[in-house]
């Protein structure tokens, strides 16, 4: 019984250590990006416009009749011709002007591709988003917005799995951490006090904000 318990302890301790080490950079990204999101005055560093370009593209027929992911798929075809890649946001189509607007974002840059559906002339404007901007990009992706089209770029899709994996594994780290703490008899009183203090702060903050 004792050896089984000690095997469980060793296994939990090792998993806590190695999973924690693997997650370390991801947790740092999420933690630092929270500070950046909560304090918009902190500069992201080095945001600047890149050169604009114009070129001719083939606009897929019937573009104006498409919606959601079908429209994004065709927008990606235009982007391929314009050599632009990234996560596509809401693709706008102005019937009166006959223009298609494709917003594209990547960790380091944002681009807007504007295409005249009549002439096929496309103008591309790009901007570097700053040294710290990728942290915010990763924190917000995939997120709750534009659910029907989100994850249209393979990198965002893969990041979504990793971001969710990070959250699940953090829950495991928290639970395994509780077990590893509970084993240490000398730390039980202080630990219990901190759990209760943390719970009180948590419920107090929730009460203040939600009541």
């Amino acid at each position: 019984m004792g050896s089984r318990r000690s095997l469980f302890y060793v296994l939990t301790r090792n998993l806590h250590l190695y999973i924690g080490l693997f997650l370390s950079p991801f947790v740092l990204v999420f933690a630092v990006s929270v500070i950046l999101l909560n304090h918009p005055g902190i500069p992201l560093g080095g945001s600047r416009a890149l050169e604009a370009a114009t070129l001719h593209v083939e606009v897929p027929p019937g573009f104006d009749r498409l919606e959601d992911i079908d429209r994004v798929r065709q927008a990606r075809e235009i982007m391929r011709q314009a050599d632009v890649s990234g996560e596509v946001g809401f693709v706008g189509y102005s019937r009166s002007e006959g223009t298609i607007t494709i917003p594209v974002s990547r960790p380091w840059s944002e681009a807007t591709v504007r295409v005249s559906a009549k002439t096929g002339m496309a103008s591309i404007t790009q901007r570097r988003t700053g040294f710290l901007a990728p942290l915010i990009f990763l924190h917000k992706m995939p997120g709750p917005h534009l659910a029907n089209i989100r994850g249209n770029w393979a990198m965002v899709r893969a990041w979504g799995w990793l971001a969710n994996g990070t959250a699940w594994l953090l829950l495991f780290l928290a639970l395994s951490g509780i077990y590893l703490w509970a084993i240490l008899k000398s730390e039980r009183t202080v630990g219990l006090f901190l759990i209760v203090a943390g719970l009180a702060s948590f419920l107090g903050a929730l009460y203040a904000i939600c009541r």
Binding site: L17, Y18, I19, G20, L21, F22, L23, S24, P25, F26, V27, L28, V29, F30, A31, V32, V34, I35, L36, L37, N38, H39, P40, P107, P134, L138, P142, G143, P144, H145, A147, R150, M155, A158, W159, L162, A163, N164, A167, W168, L170, A174, G177, I178, W181, E187, V190, G191, L194, I195, A197, G198, L199, S201, A205, L206, A208, I209, C210, R211
Partner: protein, 204 residues
Amino acid sequence: MPSVAELWIRRLHMYIGLYFLFFLWLFCLSGIVLNHPKWTFAEFWNERRQTSREVQISRPADTEDLAICRSLLEQTGIRGEISGNINRTAPGVISFRVVRPGDIYDIKADLDSRQARIDQIHVNGWGVMNMLHSFSGVRRGDPTLHQNWWATGIWRFSMDALSVGMVITVLGGIYLWFIQIRKRFWGAVALLLGIATLGLFLVA
């Protein structure tokens, strides 16, 4: 025997983790739910309840818009963060939005006729969790948002504190691994794998 520094780094790693346990669970779970907007069981926007009411108000003595809005909130018993622009749509008419986790209020008050119309959207517990995840009163790139409610300040501080706590916990954890010589190799593999995986996304 561990050194005093090692003992305290170990304790700090453990104590911070235990203190922030519930905050961490909330943000992890809400993050997962936010990343799965198609999960039907966590649906909240389609389940929202909308109500409207007219109330009598007295004209606030204040002259500054934010103070007028706060006075109107006090009179109507509404608590929350005044979000976005305060609009003067007509002489004597002031309209603004108030948000708190679970509720969104659009208030249009006619200070001359002393009437206010309150449109309220109430969402379920999933909606509350969703809103708590990002309730800071500010948004990067939106200069109309300025935190103006003390409770938002507490929540925002909690998010900051959790973030700083996680950074300390991570750095402490790395130190505690590094001093275990027998575990350095596989620990380095795990850490480098994490850095390399993240690097792939950062350079994408």
